[in-house]
């Protein structure tokens, strides 16, 4: 990992929620074309770190260096800000992903609609194209949102527990699509709790505990689990600092 290309780097980053410091001295880089899993117990600052990376939370100290253009960054938070009562169909949602190329004014051309339909086919939601967002299941909605990031040609994708409340088939589809995006060069950071999903999806892991972060290999996270010492794997992974 050390010499790999990384368009996203954190340099001695300190982040706070209100007056409470949540994370400090976070330094490291996220490899291009890799899926990095962000793990840690509840309250260890996973969502805070994502907010910091997306620029929604100003660092107290240190900095986030990101050379991915702003319009190619996508974030799917755990608590969606999406207004599901708004009258919009799946296809229209996917098409809003053209914002980087089309902005507020440029009309969509046939080629873009074709691209939108291809994306929906890839996610298995073609038959839902005209269905209002409010009538979708959790899994269908998640696929539509990933469709928007594909339309956006996102190069940096941050997902906060994308597989929570999602059916097994959707998990399979999304994992495949995320792996494809990574192999096309996107940097993907995903908050995960499920170790099996982590084993299948992630290339590397960042473990958060006690306000610190540590970059570790997927294998070293999974190893303690396999050797039947699950309770202490986090503390081992971050080198003796106990999780809170």
């Amino acid at each position: 990992m050390a010499d790999a290309n990384a368009r996203l780097r954190l340099c001695d980053l300190q982040l706070a929620q209100g007056s409470r410091t949540v994370l400090e001295h976070i330094s490291g880089k996220f490899r291009d074309g890799a899926v990095t899993a962000l793990i840690g117990a509840n309250g260890t600052g996973k969502s805070t770190l994502i907010q910091g990376i997306m620029g929604m939370l100003k660092p107290i100290a240190g900095r986030v260096e990101c050379s991915v253009p702003k319009e190619r960054r996508a974030w799917l938070p755990q608590q969606l800000a999406l207004d599901l009562t708004f009258p919009m169909s799946v296809e229209e949602l996917v098409m809003t992903g053209s914002w980087p190329s089309h902005g507020a004014l440029k009309g969509y051309c046939a080629a873009h609609y074709r691209k939108g339909r291809e994306i929906m086919a890839r996610l298995g939601i073609s038959h839902l194209a005209h269905r209002p967002l409010g009538e979708l299941s959790g899994g269908q909605r998640q696929r539509a949102l990933i469709g928007r990031t594909l339309m956006q040609e996102a190069e940096l994708l941050l997902l906060d527990e994308p597989f929570a409340n999602v059916d097994a088939e959707t998990v399979e589809v999304l994992m495949r699509v995320l792996r494809d995006m990574a192999s096309e060069g996107a940097t993907i950071i995903v908050v995960l709790h499920d170790m099996e999903q982590l084993a299948r999806l992630a290339d590397e892991t960042v473990v958060l505990a006690s306000g610190h972060a540590r970059w570790v290999s997927v294998e070293s996270v999974l190893q303690p689990l396999r050797s039947a010492a699950p309770a202490s794997f986090l503390s081992q992974a971050i080198g003796g600092v106990s999780p809170c």
Partner: protein
């Protein structure tokens, strides 16, 4: 029969004042309902009402300084409307109080201040005119102003349309794209104020909001799509305007309340018989069988 129809529906518009009233209300019917649709979708249905009160002190001051000068009264209305919107926004930001509470406080103060200013400088006739408007007294200058403001609203709305839709749906995504949601929101609120200012001459400050909200709330019973909502709302507003003017002419009743009451009839009818979520639909609700084609 044809003569009767002509006499009832067409002949009134031979008069210049009826022609001007019709054109003015058509201009308002094209501009106001789309704003109403967005207000309803954003859960801000009552903000229109609050803003209608907020323009009153400015209109009253304009009236006090320049008499029945529409440009002056409109300018005053726009300024006080924007001022109240900004004040309410900043008070809620500084105090952490919800914006609707600040807005409610300011619009009550505005209403009282407006009525007080008019009472100090004019008669009760003037007060009635400002509060309830008189569409049948629209002159060419007013008509030009109303048409210009309505055109500006429609054009601006077209320009910010996609941004407004994305901001309503997912403000976070828009922010991620480097667009400030508050800017889009601010422009939209500015358009609401402009719209109410255009409407007060014809419908009065208290009624202008009716042509914005009633067609929009009624449209919710007919369409599930944004374009559909806007089209239905404009249709209802056009019918209510024409019908209201005709009723006003034939039965010698005030035009503003006639137009808004007709829009109200449209709302009640839609709530009872509309194709979406109406009472009729609830009573006859049946689920589509599995495998039925997707409704488009």
């Amino acid at each position: 029969m044809l003569t009767l129809l002509h006499e009832w529906l067409i002949a009134p518009f031979d008069y210049g004042f009826m022609k001007r009233a019709l054109i003015a209300s058509f201009a308002l019917s094209l501009a106001a309902p789309p704003m109403g649709v967005f207000l309803v979708l954003r859960g801000m249905s009552l903000i229109g009402d609050a803003m209608a009160h907020a323009i009153l002190p400015g209109v009253a001051l304009g009236f006090l300084l320049a008499g029945f000068s529409l440009p002056m009264m409109s300018l005053g209305g726009i300024l006080s409307g924007l001022l109240v919107a900004v004040l309410a926004g900043s008070v809620s930001q500084m105090s952490g109080q919800r914006e609707d509470a600040a807005m409610a406080s300011f619009f009550l103060i505005s209403l009282a201040a407006g009525v007080m200013i008019i009472s100090l400088g004019g008669s009760s006739v003037d007060l009635t005119h400002v509060l309830f408007g008189s569409i049948l007294a629209v002159n060419t200058t007013s008509l030009l102003l109303i048409a210009a403001i309505s055109s500006l609203i429609v054009i601006t709305l077209a320009v910010i349309f996609r941004a407004l839709v994305v901001e309503c749906l997912d403000p976070l995504f828009l922010r991620g794209q480097g667009v400030r949601g508050s800017l889009v929101h601010g422009i939209f609120l500015g358009l609401v104020v402009l719209n109410l200012t255009a409407g007060f001459q014809t419908l009065g400050t208290l009624m202008a909001v009716g042509l914005m909200m009633l067609p929009a709330t009624a449209a919710r019973f007919w369409s599930k799509r944004l374009e559909g909502l806007i089209a239905v709302a404009i249709g209802i507003a056009l019918v209510a305007s024409t019908g209201g003017l005709l009723l006003s002419y034939h039965f010698n009743i005030p035009s503003g309340p006639a137009i808004i009451l007709l829009a109200g009839v449209g709302y009640v009818f839609s709530a009872l018989f509309g194709s979406q979520h109406s009472l009729r639909r609830r009573l006859r609700r049946r689920a589509a069988p599995l495998g039925a084609p997707e409704p488009h």
